[in-house]
């Protein structure tokens, strides 16, 4: 692990994830537009949005906790960058990853949601506080089945806790198991909630709490939030593909099939988003705890019993 490798991977991963995220955001908006029989925005639209917000004024509400309000997007963005670096490093060279980086990435991917709660709660807006409270409940709801789903993959590949090992064992036939497919589907549904996409967007809910946690953000901090969200929109599919589906490893062919898998997951997320109405927070919690968690527990047990 020399310094050049670390810095190089970090720069490539952050830039690559930002580009992939913005393109995915465009895919999201374009597919949504096509589903609604519209034309939709041009390819560079997400970039225009972020450039525009960077040039605007930053407003901080008078009663807000200034430091928490302005630091939260920076914390979220930093965590997304480090998570990107770890995920890309594992995919570029599966034999060289950190031991136990799955656990590290898992925690880093949780940080943007926590930062969102901090930012929303410190903005002194009742809508944002309701949004933060919903985001917190949603986190409690989806983290449990998501963790069990990831555990399915870990158990199926013989208790491997590093991403490189998971990629290699998926390549060695583990990805074909039924339990892995079940884990993957549960992972996609939890990702939907983690990204705040429509059936589980009660934390921002434009039509009832006016953007919730984001309501008081303007200018560059909002741009940073949008960029973090775009990066998470790329990172979560990459995470799913890496953990359940063999990742991007294996030369040019591996990158090509990996990209195909990635686009498939993104379009799946977008289609789920476009064909479902928003749930109430208690319905979402019931869905994750009583619906998905038992299935995930069974999947983990079956994974241990070689299915």
């Amino acid at each position: 692990m020399d310094l050049a490798w670390i810095v190089g991977v970090f720069v490539v991963a952050v830039l690559g994830t930002a580009v992939a995220g913005l393109v995915s955001k465009w895919i999201d908006r374009k597919v949504t537009a096509r589903v609604q029989w519209r034309t939709g925005p041009p390819l560079l639209q997400p970039l225009y949005d972020i450039l525009k917000l960077l040039g605007k004024e930053t407003l901080v509400p008078r009663q807000a906790r200034r430091a928490g309000f302005l630091l939260a997007p920076v914390i979220g963005f930093a965590a997304a960058c480090v998570a990107a670096a770890l995920l890309w490093a594992a995919n570029i060279d599966p034999s060289r990853t950190l031991p136990g980086d799955l656990i590290l990435v898992w925690y880093l991917l949780m940080v943007p949601s926590v930062a969102l709660i901090i930012g929303g709660a410190s903005s002194a807006n009742p809508h944002a506080v309701i949004g933060a409270s919903r985001e917190m409940k949603l986190m409690l709801a989806y983290e449990l089945p998501m963790l069990l789903a990831v555990l399915t993959s870990v158990v199926a590949s013989g208790f491997t806790f590093n991403l490189g090992g998971l990629i290699q064992s998926a390549g060695a036939g583990v990805a074909g198991k039924i339990t892995m497919a079940v884990g993957f589907i549960i992972g996609v549904l939890c990702t939907q909630a983690k990204l705040g996409l429509v059936p589980f967007d009660m934390a921002e809910a434009e039509t009832e709490i006016q953007g919730g946690v984001y309501v008081e953000y303007s200018g560059p901090p909002l741009a940073l939030w949008l960029l973090t969200r775009a990066m998470m929109f790329a990172l979560m599919p990459i995470f799913l593909v890496t953990v359940f589906w063999g990742g991007f490893a294996g030369g040019a062919a591996g990158v090509a099939t990996g990209a195909l898998k990635y686009v498939l997951v993104v379009v799946l997320l977008v289609l789920i988003r476009n064909t479902n109405p928003r749930l109430r927070i208690d319905q979402a919690m019931r869905f994750f705890w009583y619906g998905l968690t038992p299935i995930a527990v069974v999947a983990v047990i079956l994974a241990a019993a070689v299915f």
Binding site: A33, P41, Y48, G211, L222
Partner: protein
């Protein structure tokens, strides 16, 4: 150079916030028409913002009633600058038949200019203006920005 980039990006992605200061709801329906698949203003990067903090353009409909006066000024102050204002409909442009109403505080441009004398304001007349007219007005306003 940086200012030019800022202006260019603003033209590429104007997010709008809809403020009704006493309209009869007719112009509001036409604004919503612009967002429907038939007219699809997202082609130009126009999105409906959930909060004035996110907005670049305020779409104001109707003459300002005395009750709405403070609210309109507050919303204008809450909008992140640089921002523009689009007065949509005859009432918002010139008050029309409500000009002498005892309950009216004046047209929106006058009310906002009390807060910010340099506010950028464009006008789309009509009762109500067609969605095509609103889109044309928005395009011309962004061109003049």
């Amino acid at each position: 150079m940086l200012a030019a980039l800022k202006r260019w990006a603003l033209k590429k992605s104007p997010w709008v916030y809809h403020v009704n200061t006493g309209a009869c709801n007719n112009c509001d329906i036409e604004i919503l028409d612009c967002l429907t698949p038939r007219f699809d203003v997202e082609r130009f990067g126009i999105l409906l913002a959930p909060s004035p903090r996110h907005a670049d353009v305020l779409l104001v409909t109707g003459g300002v009633t005395l009750q709405a006066r403070g609210a309109l000024q507050e919303v204008y102050r809450q909008t992140a600058k640089p921002c523009a204002m689009l007065c949509i409909g005859s009432c918002a442009c010139s008050m029309c038949i409500f000009a002498d109403g005892y309950h009216m505080a004046g047209p929106p441009d006058k009310v906002v200019r009390e807060v910010d004398p340099d506010a950028f304001i464009a006008y789309v007349p009509g009762c109500p203006p067609k969605p095509e007219a609103i889109i044309l007005g928005a395009v011309k306003a962004l061109g003049a920005l």
